[in-house]
Amino acid sequence: MEPSGKIKIQNLNLFIGKQQILKNINAEIPENKITVILGPSGCGKTTLLKTLNRLTDLYENIKISGTVEMGNEDILHTKTDITKIRRKMGLVSQRPYPLPMSIYGNIAYGLKISGHTKKQFLDEKVEYYLKVTHLWEEVKDRLKQPASALSVGQQQRLCLARGLAVDPEIILADEPASALDPVSSMAIEELFTELKSWYTIVVVTHILRQAKRIADHVIFMYLGEVIEQGPAGEFFENPKMEKTKAYIKGAFN
């Protein structure tokens, strides 16, 4: 079955000041798969990811053209409240940034913001998402403790749980394992593989081996352009473009 495109990016150009960061990007992100955005450092992976939930709004002197469609909506030119769109996408950043609150508070935050105040409801959600991210057993006795007391690996899973708690459709992860030790890193990768039945997942990485382990679909970027994209098997076994072949051989990183 051909995967249905969850997000369609068309003719996306992005400038910061005079510098063009993203060059005419056309890409599709299939539903319920792990899409890996691959490419050397500085090629615009993070920028592309942030365009998807409009965190690029925070940049100064930014110019964007093109469309990013999700459902029937153009995220870039939507009239809907941007917070609604952001809530549909959980973000996991390069290093975990727990909010300055308790473990419980971190997960309840997004729910409280969107108007849920019933304690029982919050309790249930907190427990549920801590279980989903395999943190429950480790933290159930210290939910009221500050989240910053957790190990980095635990914090990263907490950040994922916090993003899942607002019930997104998509998970955006920017090099989610780069600050983690190998064990925590594997734990995150396994989690993503478990979660893809329910969510569409986009993972940015420049680690080729990691991409091979988790990717269903690959978007390969170089200097702000998408060079090649397609199903993971084909991409790794049978790359079409010269740049891709060179990258997979490890010619540049």
């Binding site: 917070t83 973000l91 909010l99 300055p100 935050y109």
Partner: protein, 296 residues
């Protein structure tokens, strides 16, 4: 040879640094002990507690009650902090989170200029602008006043401490990583919610310490305040009363009226009280910060 030379230079330098650090650490203690010795004469006559809580200031009868001065200083500086704290916080948030970075670049030298203006000039401005304004304001409320009041002192002070508090606040807000805002935003929070629930919470201890710093400065500020506050020895009953702050007492009288026995000693005592209160403010805010950091 060269090695030995460098080695000695290194050693000499580090010794110097140690000496300098030592001096800085010892300085407050030397000050306190010096002031204590100078005011010992008064300590022998009356108990410290009596001096602090007594309201009677009649040097010619050897009655030295510091309460009016201490209370007036507290009024002026706490009021000044209450006036400038919200302004500073909102400005700092605006500059770090809403304004273009160019605006912040322009603002920073402006803030530094404000910080560098001599207090006398603030005092003159206070007399020319603030005092008449407060007099009018008093009349509006049906209170007869010359304008030389606690409120005038507080208003002048509140402007004076803005640059100090603002600089620290901007510094603190800038150390908070952008990713924390991004995390909150991507959970569906608005910008304001992010600032209210995440940024301010994260910066809370720093904000408190900035305010503590402002309060200490306000408490010790002398010239500008004494020019507009009226310098009448009494316990103020409201913001439209005149008052006599502690630093003004020392500045106005030191070197004069030494014919009255123990007056000199009383002024030293005033200085000691001033120093101790400022140190107390600082320590209290530091302890508060320490406790918060521990439980965060």
């Amino acid at each position: 040879m060269k090695y030995i030379n460098r080695h000695w230079k290194d050693k000499a330098n580090s010794t110097w640094m140690l000496v300098c650090t030592g001096i800085i650490i010892v300085l407050p203690f030397v000050l306190i002990i010096g002031l204590y010795l100078k005011s010992a004469l008064l300590f022998e006559k009356c108990s410290f507690i009596d001096l602090i809580f007594s309201k009677e200031w009649k040097p010619w009868e050897n009655k030295f009650g510091f309460a009016p001065f201490i209370i007036c200083s507290l009024w002026v500086s706490i009021l000044a902090l209450l006036l400038s704290a919200p302004v500073c916080l909102l400005t700092a948030i605006y500059l770090t989170h809403y304004a273009k970075s160019r605006v912040l670049k322009i603002m920073q030298p402006v803030i530094d200029i404000l910080a560098g203006i001599p207090s006398v000039i603030y005092g003159v401005w206070g007399i020319l602008v603030i005092v008449p304004f407060v007099a009018k304001l008093g009349n509006f409320f049906g209170i007869h006043t010359t304008g030389y009041t606690i409120l005038s002192g507080a208003l002048v002070l509140s402007v004076m401490i803005i640059p100090f508090i603002l600089n620290v606040l901007i510094e603190i807000l800038r150390t908070i990583p952008e990713e924390l805002s991004e995390a909150s935003l991507s959970l569906g929070a608005t910008k304001w919610e992010t600032i209210k629930y995440v940024i301010i919470k994260k910066a809370f201890t720093g904000i408190i310490s900035a305010f503590g710093l402002g309060l200490s400065r306000a408490f010790g500020e002398t010239i500008a305040v004494l020019m507009v506050v009226g310098n009448v020895v009494k316990i103020p009953q409201g913001v439209f009363d005149a008052g006599y702050p502690l630093p003004a007492l020392i500045a106005n009288n030191y070197g004069e009226m030494l014919s009255i026995p123990m007056y000199d000693s009383a002024l030293m005592m005033a200085a000691l009280i001033l120093l101790v209160i400022v140190i107390l403010f600082n320590t209290a805010s530091r302890m508060y910060i320490y406790r918060l950091e521990k439980y965060r």
